[in-house]
């Protein structure tokens, strides 16, 4: 294993920000730490990068414990969220900074500079200063500056969050291409599910300083284990039953998972919005209710309905144009096979 994080904890003042974080990164593996803001993902990255020292647990890089090793002596290189390009240095000088500090001989430094410029498609911009570059170009310089150090593990802190939507998709592809071409192992921190799914082979989902679930994008998407994971990864219908088996559902026995915790025995489950059936066909489903369409959102590619049924708001999504108007009564239902059981994570 290239990186092994074992039961790492971190405290800021009296606040525990990381609770016993354990995960690993293999050689050439692309890992994303995914989670909402404040979940501890950047703190985790800073511990790996050598900018913070863990309070407990061990961090191994290539088998060696590096808890207290300073950043520059680790085989990691960090791409900072706001790029942190040196404003008084040109593109080439920024990229060469680490090589000059490390006294890499001129000839080798030049060839590595050229390699990095080539890889990040920055040729022709060597003499520019950061202020003369676009957001995407700055991102490339930050990448080149990190890659030219030939790290074993590349750390990326929300690398695309400062770019506008179109550029983000473009840079996401670039990032994937560069990672494939170099074969470098990486840890990318993001709160964006799409970014994580596109870029990662393994996702570490975090919430409130804990790891919730680790798995491939498909495993997380298809089989979230907890209510948080399901909600974060796009299960829009999350319900709980009081006691009874969810196979024999009645409206009275269901409530929205968002409402206050009630009875002891709670069973949570989720249903994807695209598995919810609306209209007369719903009555053929094993689970079905009568409801009223409370809101309709049409994006062109798909239509999303919000249906009030008793205490529930059920979200249904389909690719057809609007079929049920706001305020109309409609049957809503799903096949019990579409119900995915979830663990409550408090």
């Amino acid at each position: 294993m290239l990186l092994e994080m074992d039961a790492v904890s971190k405290q800021f003042g009296s606040t525990m920000v990381l609770h016993s974080i354990t995960f690993s990164v293999a050689e050439n593996e692309r890992v994303c730490i995914l989670g909402p803001s404040g979940c501890g993902k950047t703190t985790t990255l800073n511990i790996i990068g050598g900018f913070l020292v863990p309070d407990a647990g061990t961090l191994r890089l290539s088998g060696r414990i590096v808890n207290h090793l300073p950043a520059y002596r680790r085989e990691t290189a960090t791409v900072f969220q706001d790029y942190a390009l040196f404003p008084h240095l040109s593109v080439a000088e920024n990229i060469l900074f680490g090589l000059r500090v490390g006294r890499v001989p001129g000839g080798e430094a030049r060839s590595r500079l050229n390699w990095a410029l080539e890889l990040t498609r920055l040729h022709g911009l060597e003499r520019r200063y950061p202020r003369q570059l676009s957001g995407g170009q700055r991102q490339r310089v930050a990448l080149a500056r990190a890659l030219v150090m030939k790290p074993k593990l590349l750390l990326l802190d929300e690398p695309l969050s400062n770019l506008d939507a179109n550029l983000r998709v473009e840079m996401r592809r670039e990032l994937l291409r560069i990672q494939r071409e170099t074969g470098i192992a990486s840890i990318l921190v993001t709160h964006d599910q799409h970014e994580a799914f596109v870029l990662a082979e393994k996702i570490v989902l975090m919430e409130r300083g804990r790891i919730v679930q680790v798995g491939t994008p498909a495993a997380l998407f298809n089989a979230p284990e907890t209510v948080f994971a399901a909600r974060f990864l796009g299960f829009e219908n999350i319900f709980r039953t009081r006691g009874g088996e969810p196979s024999s559902l009645t409206l009275a026995g269901l409530e929205s998972a968002a409402s206050a915790p009630g009875a002891e025995q709670q069973v949570y489950f989720g249903v994807r919005a695209d598995r919810v059936v609306l209209g007369p066909n719903a009555q053929r489903c094993a689970v079905h209710f009568e409801g009223v369409v409370s809101e309709v959102e049409y994006t062109g590619e798909e239509t999303t309905y919000f249906v009030h049924a008793g205490p529930l708001t059920i979200v249904a999504r389909g690719s057809e144009a609007i079929e049920h108007r706001r305020g109309t009564r409609v049957s809503v239902g799903w096949d019990p096979a579409a119900q995915w059981m979830l663990r409550d994570d408090g």
Binding site: D82, F86, H88, V101, G102, R145
Partner: protein
Amino acid sequence: MTVEAAVSLRKPPNAAAISIAPAAVLVVGAMGIPLVFLVAVALQSSNAGVDAFHQVTLENFRRVLSDPFVWRVFARTFRVSALATVIAMACSYPVAWYLSRASHRARSLMFLLIMSPLLVSILARLQGWLILLGPGGVVPAVLQEIGFAVPPRGMIGTEAAIVVGLVHLVLPFGVLNLDVAFRNIDDTWILAARDLGATDSVLFWRVLFPLSIGGLIRAASAAMAVGVSIFATPALLGAGIRPVLSTLIYNQGLVSINWPAASLLAIVLVLGAMLLILGASWVVSMKYDVGWRKQ
């Protein structure tokens, strides 16, 4: 913004003129008109006053500027204030660095301490230096103890005493100006430099110092302008035997009653200080400031 919005937001055309009028009257009345008189008087050859505007001559210029004593005074003025500026910058640089990185509470306290000398009358502060540096003062006593020959009047009346007083005077300006510059240096630049292997000295010489040059030039030019202009410090600590430009102007104008000479020297002082400030800010804006703040 739509055209309608732009129109409705625009103030009446004379609003700007009205709002700057009081300041303009003050500047023109209290600065501009006296400056015109200063030039007029400098172009006289004797104390003719304002009714002699027509007797324009460069005789006064020739007389004053060919006097080697005047040039020695110019040189001393430059020497003491430049030396004081260099010392003040060196002393305020680390203080400003810690100030810029301090917590909010520590910052407020440090600000109070740094500004506190400015709240005390300059005469009270100079009285302190007269006691410390004067006959029987602590500083001459220590100097004598370690083997220096100290005259009976102590250090008063030496350029060193003037430099000490000027350093004390301009130090807060140095700290405050450098603090502004340092606060524009982002912490992630430091992290990035560390990540790329920078040692303390590399971090300082390759990142922090280059990024602070603009602030350093601004701070130094402000300190220098104060240093060449201030009167009380060189007057008291120079004890009349180390004249600088400001004390010479005072002497020519109010002791020797040579108004043309005093006016000419005053013009030199004003122009010198102005050129210093403008030149420094031009250099900074051309070379050291563009786009340094994070976009």
